[in-house]
């Protein structure tokens, strides 16, 4: 018994030292990323007055630079393709809690018509964006909070903080779908091959059947962060290649308990039914994004009498 205990102790000691060598893997991971926006939040480098959150619709449709150029107000886009409201809520919370970040005056949440609160295969909490940044304590704490990592092991072992993606040592590159402007926006300048260009004129009716309670809670929490910090919240519904879902804006207003301004684009504008302005049925392409952002800027200007 004594023999095995001694051997186990020596092995554990050696292993503990070996574990620390993985600090190199952990600390070099952020350098391989091309999208450094999350790192900007976690290191306290967000200094804009207007922040935009959302999924790919937020990333593609709103060009933050247009705000800066037209209004002289700094704006930055923190929308991540494939992310859902739970992730947006986390990003806003992280932005507000991290020292060094400037508290924004306005937050624009770009929502998905009509999947924002529903079960969705394509929208999720983007854990894959977090693992490259596990060198930052705030990220590690969130992973533990979400039960992705175990608290004791997380404190004891560097290797437990890692994920298999940390072992892909390839430098990531921009693709034609994921190029990021300095203002954080990700407009797209081509059309998807499978885009059928059939504009749907008959609106869907919003149904609450597939709503997820976690998403409703996250949207409420998002609103609460804004309310608590006295931040203006605009919820923007961007165009799909169809008319807006009936009752969707009403439902959002209901969940937001009247705190946010729900803004829907000008549905009479013929450009939004022109396929040349769309990437696919759910996303604008660059020319459409400029049209949409200019309209949003106009709304913002009028709202603030600028």
């Amino acid at each position: 018994m004594k023999k095995i205990l001694i051997r186990l102790l020596i092995f554990a000691g050696c292993f503990f030292i070996l574990d620390k060598a993985f600090l190199l893997v952990r600390n070099s991971a952020p350098e391989r990323e091309v999208d450094r926006r999350l790192e900007k939040i976690v290191t306290g480098n967000i200094k804009s007055d207007i922040l935009i959150y959302g999924s790919s619709r937020g990333a593609r449709s709103v060009i933050a630079k247009v705000f800066t150029d037209s209004l002289g107000i700094s704006a930055y886009n923190l929308s991540f393709p494939g992310s859902d409201i739970t992730f947006h809520e986390y990003l806003l919370r992280l932005t507000l809690e991290t020292k060094g970040n400037k508290k924004p005056k306005t937050v624009i949440l770009v929502v998905d018509d009509s999947d924002e609160l529903k079960v969705s295969k394509s929208l999720k909490f983007r854990l894959d964006r977090m693992y490259p940044l596990v060198k930052y304590k705030a990220i590690r704490e969130e992973l533990v909070r979400r039960k992705e990592k175990k608290p004791i092991l997380n404190e004891l072992f560097v290797i437990h903080q890692l994920n298999k993606s940390n072992f892909l040592f390839k430098q990531k590159k921009f693709t034609k779908n994921d190029s990021i402007m300095p203002c954080g926006s990700m407009p797209i300048s081509h059309q998807k091959k499978s885009f059928n260009k059939m504009y749907k004129k008959v609106p869907y009716n919003y149904s609450r059947d597939a709503e997820l309670i976690q998403k409703i809670r996250a949207l409420r929490a998002f609103k609460d962060h804004c309310k608590k910090n006295n931040i203006e919240l605009i919820v923007a519904i961007p165009p799909n290649f169809r008319v807006v879902t009936n009752g969707f804006a009403f439902r959002l207003n209901q969940v937001m308990e009247g705190y946010a301004t729900i803004w829907v684009y000008d549905q009479k504008n013929p450009l939004y039914s022109n396929p040349d302005y769309f990437f696919d049925n759910a996303h604008l392409q660059t020319n459409g994004s400029y049209v949409y952002t200019n309209e949003l800027v106009k709304f913002y200007r009028e709202k603030h009498n600028l």
Binding site: M1, F11, C14, F22, E148, H160, L162, K164, L168
Partner: protein
């Protein structure tokens, strides 16, 4: 509390310490401690389950004694059937009641008679491991009835036989003839056995956390969204599930056997490298051995086995495979999976070639012959096809999955995320180690034992690093649901 959890990582060393340092060599205290730990372990799922487990234990204990001391055949039969009916009855209520109600309702509805099953189905959760411990008790009672063993009079020893925590929730399904004598024998610490146990635990954890959970990510992604993928990607989904289920279950068995060896108790072997089988009969001799031998001894042989005529052989083969499928769960998918395996098995049995491959493949050689490679590949592909039914949630899904697999680009390059390549690298590594260790009880049994200690420790460290890196969210073992 599952084996790959922090709770178990704390629970196990405490029990180990108390067992060897406090209970010492006193067998009575060792058994009391293990029984208490087992009940605590089981109660961590749901304390109410402990009552059910205790009832099953008392039932087996009491009826076992009654069968043995019964003075007339009538009473012997009475206690025997009482035990069988109650044990099977509990299993039927918890596991199969809702399935039968739903199936009957479906049948009535197809004849135009409206029957709403929701009004008579039960809102109960399936107690973890009920299929496993019920089978322990059944084998014990049957063995006493047929005079193969004597009843156990020490309640603690019998309780430990039924509830021993390493095997309680997912087997191996033990036999009284194998486990009870070990429980009653004095046990002392053995360094070599302890090291062996730790190695088997490590290999089990690697299989579960690195391979099975890694494959689960891609298998789930593909099965959940199977309508969006090409045939080749669907094939990869079935392939990942094939690896997942083996590593998940055999990984659990390895951890159970290794844990038990640290307490000086040897459990039955449950897997013997089934994916290196050259035909389906060999596969079934190597897959979930404790369950297949249970069915062989308590169902197949009493039904006449393969001694009767051709029709009897066919009937018995189908019965054993269908029951085996049904044992896994109350769903038609499991029954079809069982039937499919019976169809695979039948030609071998009818041509008397089901016992052609009894020895280990390529024994004493590094490489198999071409004939062996072809045999292994075909058997593996048959298994992959069968697992589609096992994994699918409904028969409709299984059939649709298979249709799409063959109809849409089976020979195109599969569309998988970049990280799936890493899982494939781990799978290749895993198969190499399994192949090298296939002549042993588990792959790591002798692997690297002749290496210098530092090299061996580097290898252990590699496995541990993989396990710790990939041990994120706790994934339950698939067989817990059975």
């Amino acid at each position: 509390m599952i084996f790959n959890s922090i709770e178990f990582a704390l629970f196990f060393p405490i029990v180990f310490f108390l067992y060897w340092f406090i209970a010492g060599k006193n067998i009575k205290w060792q058994n009391i401690l293990l029984l208490g730990a087992s009940l605590f372990f089981y109660g961590c799922w749901d304390w109410r389950f402990v009552f059910l487990l205790s009832f099953s234990t008392f039932l087996g204990y009491f009826t076992g004694i009654r069968i043995e001391i019964a003075k007339t055949q009538f009473w012997k039969k009475f206690w025997f059937w009482l035990s069988i009916v109650l044990n099977v009855g509990f299993l039927a209520i918890f596991k199969y009641y809702n399935f039968f109600i739903d199936s009957f309702a479906g049948l009535f509805n197809s004849f135009g008679m409206h029957l709403d099953p929701s009004s008579i189905t039960l809102n109960v959760i399936l107690p973890v491991g009920i299929s496993f411990y019920t089978f322990h008790v059944l084998s014990y009672v049957i063995d006493i009835y047929f005079g193969r063993i004597k009843s156990e009079r020490r309640l603690v020893d019998f309780g430990l036989f039924v509830a021993y925590f390493p095997l309680l929730v997912a087997g191996p399904i033990e036999r009284a003839t194998h486990l009870l004598p070990q429980i009653q024998k004095e046990r002392s610490f053995d360094y070599a056995k302890a090291v062996d146990g730790l190695r088997q635990i490590l290999w089990g954890l690697f299989k579960k956390v690195v391979i099975a959970d890694g494959c689960a990510e891609w298998a789930n992604m593909i099965f959940d969204g199977y309508t969006d993928y090409s045939g080749s990607t669907l094939f990869m989904g079935a392939f990942f599930f094939t690896i997942q289920i083996y590593c998940d279950f055999s990984g659990y068995s390895d951890i159970a056997l290794g844990t038990s060896r640290l307490f000086g108790i040897e459990l039955l072997r449950n897997f013997a490298f089934p994916y290196f089988s050259r035909d389906i009969a060999e596969f079934w001799r190597r897959w979930h051995i404790s369950l297949t031998t249970w069915f062989r001894d308590y169902l197949y042989i009493p039904l006449g086995g393969s001694k009767g005529g051709t029709w009897m052989k066919i009937r018995n083969t189908f019965i054993i495979f269908l029951v085996s499928g049904f044992w896994h769960g109350a769903n038609w998918t499991f029954i079809v999976w069982g039937a499919l395996n019976a169809f695979y098995f039948l030609p071998l049995m009818l041509t008397n070639s089901n016992r052609n491959n009894l020895e280990i493949v390529a024994q004493g050689r590094y490489f198999p012959s071409i004939r062996e490679v072809v045999g292994m590949l075909l058997t593996f592909l048959m298994a992959v096809f069968g697992w589609i039914f096992f994994r699918a949630e409904t028969m409709t899904q299984a059939i649709d999955f298979i249709k799409r697999m063959f109809a849409h680009g089976l020979f195109k390059s599969p569309k998988l995320p970049e990280l799936a390549d890493l899982t494939l690298v781990f799978i290749i590594f895993f198969f190499i180690i399994e192949w090298l260790g296939r002549e042993n009880k588990y792959a790591l049994e002798r692997f690297g034992l002749k290496w210098y200690v530092p090299f061996r420790w580097v290898f252990y460290s590699f496995l541990i690093v993989c396990v710790i890196v990939l041990s994120g969210k706790e994934q339950e073992f698939i067989y817990f649901q059975f």
